[in-house]
Symmetry: C2
Subunit: 146 residues, 2 copies
């Protein structure tokens, strides 16, 4: 049996989550100033990459990414790029949800919906400036957490 | 100072990552059988939700989600739904990447690109049946891991 016959272990984590935005400057203000995310790297007109714990949130201008990579030595990353509102949910501890709700309202963000789930978990929904549907929810919405 | 004046703690994790697919039946075969993800819940014609560790990968048919929720008591989740190829990267340990590569090839998945990053990390890229750009990369692409 060669090494590559080995069944790989299950996938257990998402490393990168992507959203697409039509205006990276406006998006940067929102994600950096309102959501207080930490920019790890950015390329003007193409992307802004944020770190969240052990994962990354990637914001792309799809106009810049649907064309595919520049000639080498640029990394040969395949093209992608969606239009229309995407969705991301941030994990927020139950006790912190009211504080995040208040902080968003103070920043002029409209709370679009609040959902009390059958299992007792809570979610709140709002939009980024590009129209993506963002959510904050306690992880208990899906599973018990340590 | 009322409780809601408290600055909420930083966001540290993404709970839900969404992709959009044009055919949930085909997508289910791919994500369940090829990527071996565990279905947590699904609604025929609308979505399939997979659990990955402490996060969720949500596959939606955007035709079913751009319209917004059904009347209560259906949960009042705001509408969303993108078209065009999105992007997700799964975290895979460096030593497991060759095994995942071989497993994908055995399943007939075309490896679209492989990138050796300047910091020594590796990524491989392929597509789901809907055309979304999927990646497997070691977390060291972005940061040291414990």
């Amino acid at each position: 049996m060669t090494e590559t016959d080995k069944t790989p272990p299950p996938l257990t984590a998402i490393l990168e989550t992507a959203l697409y935005v039509d205006d990276l400057v406006t998006a940067r203000q929102f994600y950096s100033d309102v959501l207080r995310l930490e920019v790890l790297t950015e390329v003007e007109g193409r992307h802004i990459f944020y770190r969240l714990g052990q994962g990354m949130l990637l914001l792309f201008d799809p106009i810049a990414t649907v064309e595919g990579p520049a000639a080498p030595p640029a990394p040969q990353v395949p093209p992608h790029g969606a239009t229309g509102p995407g969705h991301v949910c941030f994990a927020v501890a139950r006790d912190d949800l009211p504080h995040w709700r208040a902080a968003l309202v103070r920043e002029g963000v409209r709370i679009e919906a609040e959902v009390d789930w059958p299992n007792g978990a809570k979610s709140l929904y709002f939009r980024d400036p590009a129209g993506n549907s963002l959510e904050m929810a306690e992880p208990g919405l899906w599973f018990d957490t340590p």
